[in-house]
Symmetry: C2
C-alpha cells in the first residue's frame, strides 16, 4: 500500500509532521495530513503513532529535546567554573528560545500553542529535565564551596523561575525590545551574588 514501506521511520514521520506544522499551523498535523505529505497510507503512519495526540506529543518532545541537547554540553563542560557554567547555561537557554522565536516564527507559534494546549506532560518533563541539568551545576558549585545552596534542586528551580522572562515563550514579544540584554544581565548579576553569598 505505502510507497516506501521499508524506510518509513518514526524520525521521517516527525520531520514531515514538523514541515506540515510549519506550513499549515497547529490545526493541521493529523495522522492523515502527515500521511498525505509523505505520500504513504495513513495505516503506515498509524503503525508508528496510533493517535493524533501521540504524534503531536512526539513532535513537540523532539523540538524541545533539541534545546536540552545544546544545554547538556554546558553542564558537562569540564573547564568552566560553577558560576560561569550557570551563567552560560541560562544565556544558552535564552539564546536558543530567541533563535526559535525569530528564525522560525510560524513553527514557534505552533509549538507555543501545542505546549499550552495539548501536551502538558511533555512540557512538564522538559522543564524537569532542564531544572535537573541546572541542579547538577548548582550541586557541583555547592560541593566545591563556590555556591551556598542547602538544597541544590530548590535553588536550581528558583534560578529557573527567576529567569522565566528570558525563556518562557509567553515573553517572546519582549525579547527584541531594547534593553532586554541589560535586564537579563542585571537579573543574572543579582542571582549570582545570591549563589555566591555566605550564610
Amino acid at each position: 500500500m505505502s510507497q516506501t514501506p521499508t524506510t518509513l521511520t518514526a524520525e521521517r514521520i516527525l520531520e514531515a509532521t514538523e514541515e506540515v506544522l510549519r506550513r499549515h499551523g497547529p490545526a493541521k498535523a493529523t495522522v492523515v495530513d502527515v500521511a498525505r505529505a509523505l505520500g504513504v497510507s495513513h495505516g503506515s503512519v498509524y503503525r508508528h503513532f496510533r493517535t493524533k495526540a501521540a504524534l503531536r506529543e512526539a513532535v513537540t518532545k523532539r523540538w524541545l529535546d533539541r534545546t536540552t541537547g545544546v544545554l547538556a554540553a554546558i553542564v558537562a563542560a569540564p573547564d568552566l567554573d560553577p558560576e560561569t557554567r550557570v551563567r552560560e547555561w541560562l544565556a544558552a537557554l535564552f539564546a536558543a528560545k530567541r533563535r526559535k522565536a525569530f528564525d522560525d516564527p510560524e513553527l514557534f507559534a505552533t509549538y507555543s500553542v501545542l505546549t499550552t494546549e495539548t501536551v502538558e506532560t511533555v512540557v512538564g518533563e522538559h522543564i524537569a529535565e532542564l531544572t535537573g541539568q541546572l541542579t547538577e551545576i548548582v550541586r557541583a558549585g555547592a560541593d566545591s564551596g563556590a555556591f551556598t545552596a542547602e538544597n541544590p534542586a530548590t535553588t536550581a528551580l528558583a534560578l529557573f523561575r527567576a529567569t522565566d522572562r528570558f525563556h518562557d515563550p509567553h515573553y517572546a514579544g519582549e525579547w527584541e525590545q531594547p534593553g532586554v540584554e541589560a535586564e537579563f544581565e542585571a537579573v543574572l548579576d543579582l542571582l549570582m551574588r545570591g549563589l555566591r553569598a555566605r550564610g
Copy 2:
C-alpha cells in the same frame, strides 16, 4: 435628558464601567453601554470620557492604582528594615494579584485582555510606578549599608523581573498550584542573599 445630571462624576462612571465589564466582558464597556447601565444619556458620559479608548484606559488605570496604593504603604512603613520591606512589598504584590485573580475572576480576565490589547501606556506607567516604589526601598537599603546596589533602579527592575512569575497575570493559572508558595520563598531567599551580598 439625563436622570441625575448633577451627580454624574467620573468616579461614578468608572464604577458603572467596572460593573459592565464584570458582567459582560471586555467586548462591552462602550460609552453607550455604560450610559445605559447608569440610565443617563451617552452625551453625559461623553462629557467625562470622549472615546471608548479613554474610558477603558481610565477604568484600567483605576484598577491598577488600587494595587499601587496598598504597596505604597509598605514603602513608607518607618519601622521595617530594608530586607523585610522588600520581602513584604513583593509578597503584597503577589497577594494582591492573587486576590484579584481568584476573588473576581471575570474582572481579572477582562483586565488581562484590556492590559494586553488596548492600554499599553497605562500598563507601562503602572510598572514604572511599581518599580519606582521598589527603587526607593532598594536605595534606602543601599544608603544604610544593608544592600549592595550600585544602581538601585537597575537592581529594583531586576527584582521585579525575577519575580514576574509571582505577579504577571499570565501566570495566574499557576498561583493555586501546590508548591507555589515554596517556590516564591526560594526565589526571594536567593534574591535577598544577592541584595545583602558584599562585592
